[in-house]
């Protein structure tokens, strides 16, 4: 009587499974050991999403793209530019309140002679992204004139991005205003208001994260 060979049938499947498992584990281990993926998001440790649009620098509207100002090869200890990004609305009360504080902070961090001690090859740039929280609502006016007037009123010297179409707000998923981010020269977020511990402000984070002292 001819008997079906069950042992060989099972053996063929497990031999195949063994080969495939070894192949899969080898490939996966190699990938895990040689790469360190960082995902794009707005949490601390994430890569900042793209941020682009027209920026008012006090004289003209110019195109700006955060990615063009990122040095992906940067590592801690290198020189570079840190970005303090504020998502704000020129009509929002909390943003108006914080505008004066930013005026005080800008001389500490930005310009040719910041009062905060920093290595010579480290710079800090502020960027305000003006979004539209309540477009069409009476009393909430939007437009480039609103942005330029706001900047002049608070004597801000840094750039203001026009995001009244909310493209960047949607890309970043901004929950409210003002929302602050500190972005390292390699594009990694070091501080984000939604992630921040209670009481830890952007200015505290900048003091902690941005190096002090002479040339690095």
């Amino acid at each position: 009587m001819l008997r079906r060979n069950i042992c060989n049938e099972a053996g063929a499947r497990s031999d195949g499974l063994m080969f495939v498992s070894v192949l899969f584990i080898t490939a996966f281990t190699y990938i895990a050991l040689t790469t360190n993926p960082v995902y794009t998001g707005i949490g601390v440790g994430d890569r900042a999403p793209d941020l682009s649009g027209q920026v008012w620098d006090g004289n003209s509207w110019t195109d700006f793209d955060l990615q063009d100002n990122i040095d992906s090869m940067w590592s801690e200890g290198d020189g570079g530019t840190y970005y303090m990004i504020e998502f704000m609305d020129t009509n929002c009360g909390a943003c108006i309140k914080s505008a004066s504080e930013i005026t005080n902070q800008q001389s500490k961090w930005t310009g040719d002679n910041p009062t905060r001690s920093m290595p010579e090859n480290v710079t800090v740039e502020f960027l305000a992204v003006s979004i539209s929280l309540r477009g069409g609502t009476e009393g909430w006016d939007y437009g480039q004139t609103e942005i330029t007037d706001f900047r002049t009123e608070y004597e801000h010297t840094f750039g203001y991005m026009d995001d009244h179409d909310n493209d960047n707000r949607d890309e970043w998923g901004i929950p409210g205003t003002p929302t602050y981010f500190l972005v390292a020269p390699n594009g990694i977020i070091l501080y984000a208001t939604p992630d921040a511990e209670q009481g830890l402000s952007i200015w505290d984070a900048m003091d902690y994260e941005i190096p002090t002292g002479g040339v690095m």
């Binding site: 499947r13 192949l23 490939a27 040689t34 790469t35």
Partner: protein
């Protein structure tokens, strides 16, 4: 010396081209030459399975490479991990965060490719090792169905490339492997139950016993009389 991305891609094409050649009618001569080492390559079924395994292996390695590029692009923020040469620009496709993961699930396409080719390899290797097993028919059916599902995904990825305006040479290599593997499963299904399959089985069963005896391995009894 660092090889550019297109040269690295050639290494994935080597098993794929070899497999495609073996699967085609042109591969008969090659199969006969190699049959002294792998006897099953003397048969159409053996050549088809051997070719499929080579093609799937190439598909697996290129998918793993795609996942590596995906992770590296995420680590370094884009970058030039793939060559950008006109319309063939894998950086723009694999590094594109809008399209480089599966919708809803969020798995990188490279990882999905690795899983798909691992499954295909398992199905094909199992059949190659035991072509007369009871589960061969279901293995072939799983291979066919996953093959068709994969082809639908390939159409989606071609649409993504169209939207991005660039073609990814690594992805295309994986697509070619997938389509060839699917065709292989259909060819095997057509053969299954026919003379091509059973003749090969007889040859394989006989030669397998001989080879095992040569190696001193255990030969499972086929008849009840052999057992006694």
């Amino acid at each position: 010396m660092e090889l550019d991305a297109n040269t690295q891609l050639m290494f994935h094409w080597i098993p794929i081209v070899f497999g495609l050649f073996l699967m085609s009618p042109l591969g008969e001569g090659l199969g006969k030459q190699l049959s002294s080492r792998w006897e099953s390559l003397d048969t159409v079924r053996g050549r088809t399975l051997g070719g499929m395994i080579a093609v799937m292996f190439g598909g697996f390695t290129v998918s793993a490479h795609t996942l590596w590029i995906h992770n590296k692009a995420s680590e370094m923020g884009g970058g030039q991990f793939c060559s950008a040469d006109g319309v063939w620009d894998c950086s723009s496709v694999i590094g594109n965060s809008d399209w480089n993961t599966m919708p809803f699930i969020g798995l990188p396409w490279g990882l999905l490719g690795m899983m798909a080719f691992a499954l295909f390899l398992w199905l094909a290797i199992s059949i190659a090792k035991e072509p007369s097993a009871t589960w061969v028919s279901s293995n072939l059916s799983i291979g066919r169905n996953f093959g068709i599902l994969g082809i639908l995904m390939i159409f989606y990825l071609i649409y993504a490339e169209y939207e991005i305006g660039k073609l990814c040479q690594y992805c295309t290599t994986a697509h070619v492997s997938h389509v060839a593997s699917t065709i292989g499963f259909f060819r095997l299904s057509k053969m299954y139950g026919g003379s091509d399959w059973s003749n090969s089985s007889v040859i394989t069963a006989e030669t397998e016993s001989k080879e095992r005896r040569k190696r001193g391995g255990y030969v499972a009894p086929k008849n009840s009389s052999e057992e006694e």
